[in-house]
Amino acid sequence: MKLLLKNREMLLVVAIAALVALIALRFPPFVTPGNLANVYNDTSILIILALGQMAVILTRCIDLSMAANLALSGMVAAMINAAMPGLPIPLVILTAMALGAILGSINGLLVWKLDIPPIVVTLGTLTIYRGLIFLLSGGAWINAHQMSDAFKALPRAAVLGFPLLSWLSLVIIGIMVVVMRRTPLGRAFFAVGGNPHAAVYTGIDVGRTRFFAYCLSGTLAGLSGYLWVSRYAVAYVDIAAGFELDIIAACVIGGISIAGGIGSVGGALLGALFLGVIKNALPVINISPFAQMAISGMVIIIAVAVNARAEKRKGRVILRKAEAVHG
């Protein structure tokens, strides 16, 4: 039991299972396989975004511009589709991903080459990217009837009984597991966040690693932009407004340390799922939609408190009090 509680991922699995069981008590149909698959599908975009944010947070940075990046890439994808309905959808998706990567690399370059604190950079680009959407679209909406059927159908297309959106998120989870565990870049993310100075001495370029983390989060945000716009079949300036904090919350609940260096793909996945289950279950068990924000806020605080306790490392006796203040 003690071992179980020490493993953050196991703790989260237990918490999610307990949550689902509680919901099942009040509303049994929630736990049917079909509905759980729906909940997963609903959470897919958040999972993809949380994985990108995870890479950035691991390197001791933060990306507040992800939701704005998503909105801009999504808007561009929708506009391309509306202007040229004949263009193959994979090409549109690649364009959205490329745009997302470019927007992410702007963040990365500013952090890498100019040494501006990440929170300032992404706070700035967050407002700039949102403003650009307005300049591009003139504040107009792109509605379902302006998008081609193929554009809207792709994330919904069923493969082996599951929507493509779910499969896509599973593929990305797989890729991220390989990247984080089996590639030098993945290890570099951990090394840079764990101790930047030690990373330098082992031959890792800290700035460049952070740049790649931002490129990764940008690419995933671009992809999510297409997925979001096609799934909800509408694009406007304010889509996913405030979602950047949901993404960070998913990471934090998943045990990814905001101080960098600690975290895992499984953690980000479970953190996102935890939020997804809550968001999907509250309306079902007749909790007013107005209370949802308050409840997710409470959940974030509790999760952070639990995680922080697990994260405390033993220091030398003389420094214990100092470290208690550091958190």
Partner: protein, 334 residues
């Protein structure tokens, strides 16, 4: 963000060397920017220089700047408070609820201030008591406080504030000088004195520069940080009183997104986001700049969201330029 202690400060608050003759300090740079925007505004529209017009322009920044003063102290101490806009919402909701119960103006103000202080105390307790990172705590309380307002209000709005209450947002102390503007000036002076002339201010810098060193030199780090979070709560409550009185109604979406604008204002004012440096005059200038930009774009009929592009660019460039300048100068001297 935990590397603050080890990595050199990124943002210079003073430029050194030969450039010092040209640009003496961050504040001088901000004054130049402010004057330039003022000039552009007055050339762009003949109505800009009208005193009543200028007075109206102050409403664009006074409420945010009140919070920015306290936020500056929090950020200098190495923490951040992202829940301020939600505290405004919850405070406004509490006052709206009190109005429905028939409270009068003095009682309303008390309810507002108490709510803000409670929210601040909650943040402070979580950060100092449990030792949690403030950026995460306040992301949580941001949804929590705003969520509570939604729970209480639903999709309704509270109105019916007493006539005397609206004075806080609409009243004028003398000629064109509104109550809000006067409060802004008074608070600027108080915060300037507290940060730059008292030992409390020095401990705030000390904590931001090296928390462990501050702890071992006898600074009660936890207590100081708790007070700082109380202060942001209090200032958010005061801003909420002004804003609610000005609008005359409470909606759960009130002051949405303000937290980022307040942080932008503080950083633009030259406060190091990693803690340890920054000044109140800088924040005052940044507030003036942001207020004038908003107003100038309004005069030119530029939509608000386009203005935000400008603020974003201003934020990044104003921090990037001194770094580029120093790098350029460094290369030439070799």
């Amino acid at each position: 963000m935990a590397e603050t202690q080890m990595v050199a400060r990124h943002i210079p608050d003073r430029l050194e060397g030969r450039g010092a003759r040209l640009v003496k300090s961050w504040e001088t740079l901000l004054v130049a920017v402010a004057l330039a925007i003022f000039l552009v505004n007055s050339l762009a529209s003949p109505y800009f220089l009208d005193p009543w017009n200028l007075s109206d322009a102050t409403f664009n920044f006074t409420e945010k700047a009140m919070i920015a003063f306290a936020m500056a102290l929090v950020i200098i101490s190495g923490e951040i408070d992202l829940s301020v806009a939600s505290i405004i919402a919850l405070t406004s909701t509490a006052m709206g609820y009190a109005v429905q119960l028939g409270f009068d103006t003095p009682a309303l103000v008390m309810v507002g201030l108490a709510t803000g202080l409670l929210c601040g105390a909650f943040n402070g307790l979580l950060v100092t008591g449990l030792g949690l990172p403030s950026i995460v705590v306040t992301i949580g309380t941001m949804s929590l406080f705003r969520g509570l307002s939604f729970v209480i209000l639903g999709d309704k709005a509270f109105t019916g504030y007493p006539e005397s209450f609206s004075w806080f947002g609409q009243g004028y102390v003398w000629w064109v000088f509104s109550f809000e503007l006067c409060l802004f000036v008074v608070l600027a002076v108080i915060y300037g004195v507290v940060l730059h002339r008292t030992s409390f201010g020095r401990t705030v810098y000390a904590i931001g520069n090296n928390q462990t060193a501050a702890l071992f030199s006898g600074v009660r780090v936890g207590r100081v940080k708790f007070v700082l979070f109380l202060l942001t709560g209090l200032m958010a409550a005061i801003a909420s009183i002004c804003l609610t009185a000005r609008l005359g109604s409470t909606r759960p979406s009130i002051a949405m997104g303000w937290e980022l604008e307040v942080v932008t204002m503080v950083v633009l004012g030259g406060v190091n986001i990693l803690g340890g440096s920054g000044t109140i005059p800088g924040v005052v200038l940044a507030a003036l700049i942001m207020g004038m930009v908003t107003f100038g774009f309004g005069l030119l009929n530029v939509p608000g969201i386009v203005m935000s592009i400008f603020i974003g660019l201003l934020l990044i460039s104003v921090i990037a330029l001194p770094i580029l300048y120093r790098r350029f100068r460094g290369r030439r001297s070799h």
